[in-house]
Amino acid sequence: MILKKLEIQGFKSFADRTEVLFTPGVIAVVGPNGSGKSNISDAILWVLGEQNVRALRGQKAQDVIFAGSTKRKPVGMAEVSLTVDNSSGKLPINYSEVTVTRRAYRSGESEFLINKTPCRLRDIYELFMDTGVGREAYSIVSQGEMDALLSAKPEDRRALFDEAA
């Protein structure tokens, strides 16, 4: 499975539609404090189904929707899409290219889509379940979270091994 692109709109500080194109190898993301780098990592967590608002540094689900700036109004919806190359067939779905999309509205409603077909959150979970991708597998490590791998209780650390097994 290879990441192809991430599209972000209305998600946190990404008010305008932004496209991140991925290549193989090392992709560095740089910029000043508060520019939005960790928000990109949050967008990836979120589109893969993260439900723990604290893992996204929020207090409620709507905190991920662009809340406005001094010059711009808030928007009503956040949308993130992740497109992957599935020619290896690693994802249990019969497409060589897969796009997962998640939307959140101020009303509290959510939408989930796989290749533009509406689905449930759990369909996205199950799609990526055996790929080793995600926060709990420690393949997505949020800012300051690396140390937690060591401060975790032995029982919590066990979950990582079970995941890898």
């Binding site: 499975m1 500080s13 992709i27 560095a28 993301v29 990109i40 700036s69 420690y138 650390r157 066990r158």
Partner: protein, 157 residues
């Protein structure tokens, strides 16, 4: 199942020792089942001995030593069960020059098989990039992505 776990545990043990020695340029490690009688549920303890130092409780390790040890464990899990991609957000922040160099080398190696997305302020890590994105906030509160020419990193140094 017990057999599968045991196999995974032994593999991670071996990879952890290997990764730790790459990142610390030496040293020994142990992964120990808290309750060996109860393999299906037992927690896992991490014991390390930094090169030249005596084995100590992880708590007494320095900030940089803890992050590098955690990275070794994460890379070990990645070796045993590779993930198609990895996102690391400013993991290199507490590392000194020598350690960040070794860390960046390991990142580059994993990048041969997995996409490594690395958020960083560190020049040594940036030097390993195949592509680099700059996130800017020209308009206050609004994030914007720009491609950064990799030759620009060489100029920064």
């Amino acid at each position: 199942t017990r057999g599968v776990f045991e196999e995974t545990f032994e593999a991670v043990k071996k990879s952890f020792a290997e990764m730790f020695q790459r990142l610390f340029d030496g040293g020994k490690t142990e992964l120990v089942l808290v309750d060996p009688e109860n393999m299906l549920e037992s927690g896992i303890d991490v014991l390390v001995e930094l090169p030249g130092k005596k084995r100590q409780n992880l708590l007494l390790l320095s900030g940089g030593e803890r992050v590098l040890t955690a990275a070794a464990l994460m890379f070990a899990l990645m070796m045993v069960r590779p993930s198609p991609f990895c996102v690391l957000d400013e993991v290199d922040a507490p590392l000194d020059e020598a350690n960040v160099e070794r860390f960046a080398d390991v990142i580059q190696e994993f990048a041969e098989k997995s996409q490594m997305i690395v958020i960083t302020h560190n020049k040594s890590t940036m030097e390993k990039a195949d592509i680099m994105y700059g996130v800017t906030m020209q308009e206050p509160g609004i994030s914007k992505l720009v491609s950064v020419k990799l030759s620009a990193v060489a100029e920064m140094n």
